[in-house]
């Protein structure tokens, strides 16, 4: 049986594949939550999920709807306070992988989740920083999951909530490696090793370079030998469907 899939499925599957067995992963709501649990139920059963609400090694029996679900505390190895979470676990560098979303992202992976428009007189007030600035700074590596469009992939972000590589790609001063992957509905971008400029290195099946360029608000750099991301397997799609249906797994 071959199940059909869409670009959102592909984005989640591609993100899940980047988690390795044994990784300590800080999980937020939305796509990261889906991707991390997909990884845990497929190729990375030993991946450790940490939720910023305080649950360490949470093993939710079904996909949590929020980071505060009771199942997280009930299945965790340890439940810690929020100050402990951010000081002793996130701040101290005990997180291998952090997932972040973005309302806007620029070519050096700086992220805005605060406002669209002027800070004091915004067009859109966004939810704000949450755990993102410290995850961006202190996680061993950061995976950004965001849909690629002219609205999100902008020449200049309206506000820097979380730092990628700084205004010109050379200003990052933080313990972690920063955003090593940006996974979109078009494919995967990675910072250029020399300049830290986000470079399209992989495309999802059926997506063209032209489409990716058209969804990017700057002159998108594309790798010389661009790869194609393998299509989702039936196992991945089946588990993704079960997680979304909030089945007990």
């Amino acid at each position: 049986m071959t199940e059909s899939w869409n670009s959102a499925d592909m984005m989640n599957v591609a993100a899940a594949r980047e988690l390795h067995d044994g990784d300590v992963c800080l999980v937020g709501v939305g796509p990261p939550n889906l991707a991390a649990n997909l990884a845990r139920h497929t190729h990375a059963p030993g991946c450790r999920l940490v939720y910023e609400s305080g649950a360490i090694d949470a093993k939710p029996r079904r996909l949590p709807l929020s980071i505060g679900d009771d199942d997280l505390a009930a299945t965790a190895t340890s439940v810690v306070s929020v100050p402990e979470m951010f000081n002793y676990w996130v701040g101290a560098g005990r997180i291998d992988v952090g997932f972040l979303g973005a309302a806007q992202i620029d070519r050096f992976a700086n992220i805005n989740t605060t406002v669209i428009g002027d800070h004091d007189n915004p067009k859109t007030r966004l939810p704000g920083a949450g755990g993102a600035p410290e995850i961006a700074a202190n996680a061993g590596r950061v995976i950004v999951i965001v849909k690629q469009s002219l609205r999100t992939f902008v020449e200049q972000v309206d506000f820097v909530t979380s730092v990628g590589y700084g205004p010109t790609g050379r200003e990052r001063q933080a313990p972690g490696a920063g955003p090593t992957l940006v996974i979109t509905d078009h494919g995967v971008l990675e910072p250029d090793p020399a300049t830290n400029e986000l470079t399209m290195t992989r495309l999802h099946p059926g997506v063209t370079v032209e489409q990716a360029r058209a969804a990017t608000g700057w002159d998108l750099k594309v790798a010389d030998s661009i790869q194609t991301v393998p299509v989702p397997t039936d196992t991945e799609l089946d588990m993704l469907r079960r997680l979304r249906a909030r089945e007990v797994i």
Binding site: S66, V82, N87, T114, G128, V163
Partner: protein, 272 residues
């Protein structure tokens, strides 16, 4: 002090117009009933502090209770935007709301400093972000031992902190468990603390990871079963996810919101 007291008395005695008020509970044990009592009593010009404003502050902001908000993540968890918060910031309805945005780590540490009665806390964060432009709450400090430059956040010391917990005992000591968030710090950072609880028991059970707050660190304890609804109290209730979803519809529209407020006896008093 005699306890428990009725919630209306606790709020009337300890929460005043213009106060800095923190209602804490990180996704769990959110003191909704106390928030509604604050609105019902017509409090105004509050500076509200809360890591995750959540639906509880969306309601208070829409009701016109707050002039300022200190926060770190202002979304409807798992759903989307807080529309009343956005309307207040973007369109000044029912009036302008001044916001001060921290990261979770920043605000959690601001409470830690406040609980310790220290002027500021130190963390490794904020560097290179535009959040640093809020120099009245975020700055930098140099480590006197290593020379490392670190972020400093100004302590938060609410006039009043309100939390919800599972249990109190006959003396008024309080016990909470599950995700306990930043409640211990928020209570100890405050000048006055009010706790609503699910019930009073003769003796506390053994609970791994529970937080116990001694009665002499609190000003008032009120018994309010279900006082965290539509959030939840582990062992007593589950999160009403449907309410959080429906709030997206109710809060999107000023008229629908006002109708909801009227239905629940929370009508906003005339704005002054």
């Amino acid at each position: 002090m005699p306890r428990p007291v009725h919630l209306d008395e606790a709020i009337a005695t300890h929460v005043h117009d213009g106060d800095t008020v923190a209602l804490e509970g990180f996704t769990h044990l959110i003191p909704f009933a106390a928030a509604h009592e604050i609105a019902r009593q017509g409090r105004r010009h509050l500076k509200l502090v809360r890591m995750t404003p959540d639906v509880v502050y969306d309601q208070l902001i829409g009701l016109g209770v707050a002039d300022e908000l200190v926060f770190s993540y202002g979304g409807n968890p798992g759903v989307g935007s807080l529309h009343r918060l956005r309307d207040a910031v973007e369109k000044h309805w029912p009036h302008k709301l001044v916001v001060h945005e921290h990261s979770h780590a920043g605000l959690a540490n601001a409470y830690v400093a406040g609980a310790g009665r220290l002027p500021f806390a130190v963390l490794r964060g904020y560097r290179g972000t535009d959040l640093e432009q809020q120099s009245d709450i975020i700055s930098r400090v140099t480590c006197p031992f290593t020379g490392e430059e670190l972020a400093a956040v100004k302590a938060v010391n609410p006039d009043v902190t309100v939390i919800h917990a599972q249990l109190a005992d006959p003396e008024g000591n309080v016990m909470l468990w599950g995700l306990t968030g930043v409640q211990r710090e928020a209570v100890l950072a405050a000048d006055r603390a009010i706790v609503t609880v699910e019930e009073i028991v003769d003796e506390f059970p053994e609970r791994t990871g529970a937080v116990i707050l001694p009665e002499w660190a609190l000003k008032a304890v009120s018994v309010v079963p279900g006082g965290a609804w539509p959030s939840y109290a582990l062992g007593y209730s589950t999160r009403d996810n449907d309410f959080y979803q429906q709030w997206d519809v109710v809060s999107r529209d000023r008229g629908a919101f006002l109708a909801w407020a009227k239905e629940n006896g929370l009508e906003a008093a005339a704005d002054d």
